[in-house]
């Protein structure tokens, strides 16, 4: 884990809500794995007080000599609004890399389905690159409310993934939920499949229903409000199934953000 003051290399606005911030840091980039995240301080002042968690989106520079990394951010509140105004060469305090990474499929022959919604696309360019480099066949299912809410399609395409789009309003790709083309794809698929998902909880739950019904391994990346990102505040917990049939809280920032979907309890148990 590194505590660093990093320099913003560039800020690229994708649309009115979303933007990509590139940071210079070979050191952090060399350590970062797909699925992990960083905690970014958006101000040196006391308001907003807490750092913001952000997934690694892409690593920059040659594979053997990384020069930096990027994050994909959706403007949703005060902290991300401040970030949207960042200028190149600004310095920000960062803790990275944090949390668990996506694990490769247990079977080297598996094809991979990456299912994402909205800004949940953020960790997938990095994951897709790794999976494709390891020889997996990768299909990315990208969902969003409108065409404007589909993120990383070009990046994933460029990396060599097959890209399938779905929008609630039909403005791009399939008109409907992203799980519909996923289901269709799995119906046709031959051979092993590993599923990865990140996005709104209802989407991840629906993906999980599909994966469970077919007995497919499924890894999800979760989110929760975080105060520390390093495991000390216990703010980011989710209920997780225990081997003995009981359940316990685990920390998304340490035991996650990537979990085996099998272990998750989507409906919070009564205390």
């Amino acid at each position: 884990m590194l505590e660093k003051r990093l320099v913003v290399d560039s800020v690229r606005h994708l649309n009115a809500r979303c933007f990509v911030v590139a940071f210079r840091s070979g050191e952090v980039a060399a350590a970062a794995r797909a699925g992990q995240f960083l905690m970014v301080s958006v101000t040196d002042a006391i308001d907003p007080l807490l750092r913001r968690p952000m997934a690694f989106c892409e690593l920059l520079g040659p594979v053997t000599a990384r020069t930096g990394f990027s994050i994909l951010v959706e403007r949703t509140g005060r902290g991300t609004t401040l970030m949207s105004r960042l200028q190149p060469e600004t310095e920000l305090e960062v803790l990275a890399p944090l949390g668990t990474a996506f694990r490769p499929p247990s079977d080297a022959e598996d094809q991979c389905c990456l299912v994402m919604g909205g800004v949940g696309s953020a960790p997938f360019p990095l994951l897709a690159g790794d999976l494709i480099a390891a020889g997996h066949d990768v299909t990315a299912f990208i969902g969003g409310r409108t065409a404007d809410h589909l993120l990383c399609a070009d990046d994933l395409d460029r990396l060599g993934a097959r890209v399938v789009l779905a929008t609630d309003d039909g403005s791009a790709g399939h008109h409907g939920l992203v799980t519909e083309p996923l289901q269709h794809h799995l119906d046709e698929a031959t051979g092993g499949v590993t599923v990865y998902s990140c996005g709104p909880t209802p989407m991840m739950r629906a993906v999980d229903d599909i994966a469970r019904a077919r007995g497919l391994p499924h890894q999800v990346s979760l989110e929760a409000p975080m105060a520390c990102g390093i495991g000390v505040c216990l703010s980011c917990v989710v209920p997780v199934q225990e081997a003995d049939g009981g359940w316990s809280y685990q920390r998304i920032c340490r035991e996650g953000p990537v979990f085996d979907a099998d272990s998750l309890i989507w409906e919070h148990p009564d205390a």
């Binding site: 884990m1 505590e3 301080s41 006391i46 308001d47 907003p48 007080l49 807490l50 750092r51 305090e93 803790l95 929760a224 409000p225 975080m226 105060a227 520390c228 390093i230 495991g231 000390v232 505040c233 216990l234 703010s235 980011c236 917990v237 989710v238 316990s248 809280y249 340490r254 919070h268 205390a271």
Partner: protein
């Protein structure tokens, strides 16, 4: 030419307990020391107060557990902890290896709970003091917090006192009409030192959803916005009792550490700052050394309680 700077003496005493310096980690903000030690060497600090321990493990509250506020935050973790037994077996051995004071923060929902945890830790080497978190409801007495009623505070402190010969600190709760009364109750019941303060109650609303942000409706307010309240309450506690004091609440820069000490804190605990700046306490120790050197302070204890008051106080 200035004199060659001597090494300032940062040691402070909290009653019979000597700390290598006044900077401690506050309970509930650094777990049991594992993760934070990647950012600050525990050997460098005066002490660590571990996450509040109860007799049995506790799961804590349902999320959402935090909310940000202007210049601060709310939490409703619900005292999630691994229980005193697991602490002793899994966490304490590692903590013993550090050259720092380890303080066990303990709590319960009955007087017997407190006494039980205190008794269990009394036998354990490497626990240098116990700190009672009394901001908990007394379930046998209608759920009123131990920390808001002088009689109950007296009982729970006495029970813990009887159960341990280790230094006993009582961590006072704000949100009471007269904190001095509570401070005296703890003193009379045998506390060796008082920590002030725990979080104060706060609330935030998610207007779009017409719901409280926290699952528990309200939670404990901490962080920079708490500072002036914490300083004031420490001042009131100081006026009420001669016990050694530990200042807590909103520390965000060295000046805040110094303010608590000037009022009368022998040591301080840093909480929320560990979240947004995990290396913060190490920096405080470095800056404290520098400050002493620059201000010709040979021993930081000179500062403790050096506040000069206008006539009438």
């Amino acid at each position: 030419m200035p004199e060659p700077t001597r090494n300032p003496d940062l040691t402070v005493k909290v009653g019979s307990l000597a700390l290598s310096n006044p900077v401690m980690l506050a309970s509930g903000t650094v777990g049991y020391g594992d993760e934070i030690s990647k950012f600050v060497s525990l050997d460098k600090l005066g002490g660590i107060v571990v996450k509040g321990l109860s007799l049995e493990p506790v799961r804590g509250n349902r999320p959402r557990r935090i909310a940000e506020t202007p210049g601060g935050m709310l939490n409703s973790i619900g005292l999630q902890n691994i229980g005193v037994e697991a602490f002793v077996e899994e966490k304490l051995p590692k903590l013993r290896q550090y050259d720092t004071c380890v303080v066990a923060n303990i709590w319960g929902t009955t007087v017997d709970d407190y006494a039980g945890v205190a008794a269990r830790l009394d036998r354990e080497e490497g626990v240098h003091a116990l700190e009672l978190n009394v901001s908990c409801p007394n379930i046998k007495e209608g759920g009123i917090s131990f920390g808001t009623d002088a009689r109950q505070l007296h009982r729970v402190t006495s029970a813990a006192r009887a159960a341990t010969s280790k230094p006993l600190w009582v961590k006072l709760a704000p949100g009471v009409t007269d904190i001095g009364l509570l401070a005296r109750a703890a003193e009379e019941a045998g506390a060796d030192a008082l920590s002030a303060i725990n979080t104060i109650r706060g609330m935030m609303v998610d207007v779009a959803r017409r719901e409280p942000v926290l699952s528990t409706v309200f939670g404990g307010y901490s962080g920079p916005g708490l500072l002036p309240v914490a300083l004031y309450l420490l001042f009131e506690v100081k006026r009420a009792t001669p016990l050694p004091l530990i200042g807590i609440g909103g520390i965000n820069e060295l000046d805040h550490v110094l303010q608590f000490m000037t009022i009368g804190a022998s040591a301080v605990q840093v909480g929320t700052a560990n979240f947004y700046n995990p290396g913060f306490t190490g920096k405080m120790v470095d800056e404290l050394i520098e400050w002493c050197a620059q201000h010709d302070v040979d021993s930081i204890e000179e500062l403790v309680g050096s506040l000069q008051l206008p006539a009438g106080f």
